[in-house]
């Protein structure tokens, strides 16, 4: 009985606590976040900061953030001779389309952002597109390589990276073309998830165009062990192996191949090979793996904000401690596209609803060259609003670094082919 009075009072305490939380929850919609006094450009970022796609999500974030920081250092985005600072707002989509839609609605309605920078995955992008359309807010996607994103002709969405169906096919063609002795056969592995599967389809189509015999086309569940698939492919003994997947799956494929002592003459993978993390985690085993890059620090482009591609690379490395790959670069370049469009539009922030629609039209007319390369969005077809200007480069990892090896005019080093046995 002694404990009873204590129990009751604690109960009450919890009750009051719950009521307070309830009151806050009910009141929250009516609270307003404090507004900055000086007018700024508000940029909303929707990306995967948690969930299965955190890796790519954080790469996009680094790219977007670097642009905002560099731009703000320089005084901000210039409109009509005046410069305006950039304020970034984030929405974690938790790698889930519905949460991405919530984030878009919040950033647009609650934070009243002027422009959105897009998610990493195609699923979230597809769920966000209708909301951009509804409010007439343009969204620039620094990632989103999946061709599905552009098929529905999203009026307000723009993509910086050429869709993977255009790049993976070409790259495998380049690899086959440069191989000596000529590769005759290929096996394609794809992780059975949205982007990776389309990458694998691109590989297969490209291989068929290049006259290679496709010995196997295997889609693997994202949670499966790779050894059965590798053994099966090893038994077919293809000259080339192409893998579509994200960084974790690619690391697991290399590890499984090495542990089974299977080394094809050529190995091409996408996406994640160009990211320094791949080579860092695999060490020497990463060497020889080929990948696709639509941008490298060695490309001969430059702009006023970031300088040359090489300078961008150094700056990003100083900021994040790792060298950027093309996804990060494309995300940073998204900011440049926005800044250019805003300048041409000539409207000061905050943008009205009409301004945002006009911004969309301005973005659609983009025709600039950045450190990332030329940017110009398609106006029709299956890649509507996608920037298919960048030319995919075949890279190969040599001593832990991505080096362009093809096509001929972009090559900086000789393609290692056939690959030496595992050491």
């Amino acid at each position: 009985m002694v404990g009873r009075s204590g129990g009751v009072s604690r109960r009450n305490l919890i009750q009051y606590g719950a009521l307070t939380i309830g009151a806050v929850a009910v009141g929250a919609p009516f609270m307003r976040t404090a507004r900055a006094q000086a007018s700024t450009f508000k940029v909303g970022v929707i990306t995967s900061l948690s969930g299965e796609n955190i890796f790519g999500g954080n790469l996009t974030r680094q790219g977007y953030d670097l642009w905002a920081e560099v731009m703000n250092e320089k005084g901000g985005v210039e409109v009509g001779g005046e410069r305006f600072q950039i304020e970034m707002f984030y929405g974690d989509d938790q790698s889930n389309p519905a949460t991405g839609a919530d984030a878009a609605e919040r950033l647009i309605v609650q934070e009243e952002v002027d422009v959105l920078f897009g998610p990493y995955t195609s699923g979230v992008t597809l769920a966000v597109q209708p909301i951009c359309h509804k409010y007439g807010v343009p969204m620039i996607s620094g990632s989103a390589e999946s061709p599905n994103v552009w098929k529905a002709k999203p009026e307000f969405n723009f993509g910086m990276i050429p869709a993977v169906d255009t790049s993976s096919g070409k790259s495998v063609g380049v690899l086959a073309d440069m191989s000596d002795p000529k590769a005759r056969s290929i096996a394609v592995i794809g992780v059975n998830e949205p982007f990776s599967k389309e990458t694998a389809e691109g590989f297969r189509a490209g291989a068929e165009d290049a006259g290679l015999e496709v010995l196997a086309y295997e889609l693997v569940p994202s949670t499966a062990d790779m050894t059965p698939t590798i053994s099966k492919i090893a038994a077919l003994n293809p000259d080339l192996v192409a893998v579509g997947g994200h960084e974790e799956a690619l690391i697991n494929v290399v590890k499984a191949s090495k542990s089974l002592n299977f080394r094809p003459k050529g190995l091409i993978m996408h996406y994640g090979v160009t990211n320094p993390a791949f080579a860092r985690e695999l060490g020497a085993d990463a060497d020889g793996t080929s990948g696709i890059a639509v941008w490298l620090p060695s490309v001969p482009y430059e702009d006023e904000v970031f300088g040359t591609a090489k300078e961008y690379d150094e700056r990003a490395h100083n900021r994040w401690g790792s060298h950027p790959d093309y996804t990060e670069a494309a995300c940073s370049a998204s900011g440049l596209v926005f800044a250019d469009a805003a300048k041409r539009l000539g409207k000061k922030p905050p943008f009205s609803a009409e301004d945002k629609v006009a911004l969309k039209d301005a973005i659609a007319e983009t025709d600039i060259t950045t450190f990332y390369g030329p940017v110009k969005f398609e106006k029709e077809g299956n890649h509507y609003h996608d920037n298919i200007q960048p030319v995919p480069v075949l890279i190969q990892i040599k001593d832990g670094v991505s080096v362009p090896v093809g096509p001929k005019d972009a090559a900086e080093a000789e393609l290692t082919y056939p690959l030496p046995a595992w050491k």
Binding site: Q110, G123, P221
Partner: protein
């Protein structure tokens, strides 16, 4: 006097619910829509999990069936209007539940839980390899972007779910039968209750209601894929919401859904640029389990339903006097 209280509460509640679209901006209306959806889903799970005592770890299957029914039928191949797809999803989910329920409901406890989960995982894998579901790439629906429509659609569905649950489980003998089989199946049978039939009915009902929310969800979010509709985390959320709110109580799931969803979104809003909020969410769940054994609904119950020892106190005792058996 007391008799009036629920009616007053109901009227006030209805007034608030109908006023919300006027008071909230589109974003908060979206959150409110989400709360209604999860409240409804939690309630649907509570039918089989709370009232019937069968822990369904694969309830996302029925949500997914509803979502895919709408997405497929509204797609170019069929072009049905939205309203016509709801009954299809509802009947399909109820039908699937009726078919798998027969053999599956013979299992008890953890075995039932894991059998349903295995079934859900099977269906998820199937959805990734089938053509009609769009495989892993998923399906897009024709966008219809009227926040109010979806708010009221979810509201109607949630209100109907709760009303039905109230009628069937708190005010009819069907509820008595279901609760009896939950508490002691052999005894329920000895009382003449056809437990096999009763639990199958409860399972099908639970499945059918979940499907309705799946249909509305698909149309609302405009894009679905296997992970977003059939994934295990959908079920996990339902289960945790019900446990937080109060298992087997009518309003518990609604409380749990509102609390978890809103708290999640508030953490996400203010600390969403870090991942720390996920850890906080986990901590919040642990605290509720330890200190609110009957869920949030237990806080507002007139008296504690059982004189049970509070686990928080048990924990305290365990830590201060280790080794002392109760």
């Amino acid at each position: 006097m007391r008799g009036w209280f629920p009616i007053v509460l109901l009227v006030c509640g209805a007034a608030v619910v109908f006023a919300l679209p006027e008071l909230l901006n589109a974003y908060w209306l979206r959150i409110a829509t989400g709360v209604l959806m999860w409240a409804g889903l939690a309630c649907s799970w509570n039918i089989i999990g709370g009232y019937a005592g069968y822990i369904d770890f694969g309830h996302s299957v029925f949500f997914g069936i509803g979502a895919y029914a709408s997405a497929i039928l509204m797609g170019d191949a069929f072009g049905w209007p939205f309203a016509a797809t709801i009954p299809v999803g509802l009947l399909a989910a109820g039908g699937v539940a009726a078919v798998i329920g027969g053999p599956t409901l013979r299992l008890r406890g953890a075995y039932f839980a894991i059998a349903t989960w295995a079934f859900a995982e099977t269906l998820l894998q199937l959805a990734t390899v089938l053509e009609i579901t769009g495989g892993t790439a998923g399906l897009s629906l024709p966008p219809f972007l009227n926040e109010r429509f979806f708010y009221f659609a979810m509201l109607t569905a949630a209100a109907a779910t709760y009303a039905l649950t109230w009628l069937l489980f708190e005010r009819s003998r069907f509820g008595l039968k279901v609760k009896a089989l939950r508490d002691h199946e052999p005894a329920a049978e000895a009382m003449g209750i056809n437990t096999a039939a009763v639990k199958l009915q409860a399972f099908a009902l639970s499945a059918a209601t979940a499907a309705v929310f799946g249909s509305i969800y698909a149309y609302w979010v405009t894009f679905i894929n296997p992970r977003s509709t059939l994934g295990g985390d959908i079920t996990d959320q339902m289960v945790v919401m019900v446990l937080l709110g109060g298992l087997g109580s009518l309003w518990g799931p609604a409380l749990g859904a509102a609390a978890l969803f809103i708290v999640n979104r508030i953490f996400w809003m203010y600390w969403g640029d870090t991942t720390f909020y996920i850890a906080i969410l986990g901590l919040a769940i642990i605290v509720v389990v330890l200190f609110l054994p009957n869920g949030l609904a237990g806080l507002f119950a007139r008296k504690t339903q059982n004189g049970s020892q509070n686990a928080g106190r048990a924990l305290w005792r365990a830590l201060t006097r280790p080794g002392v058996e109760r």
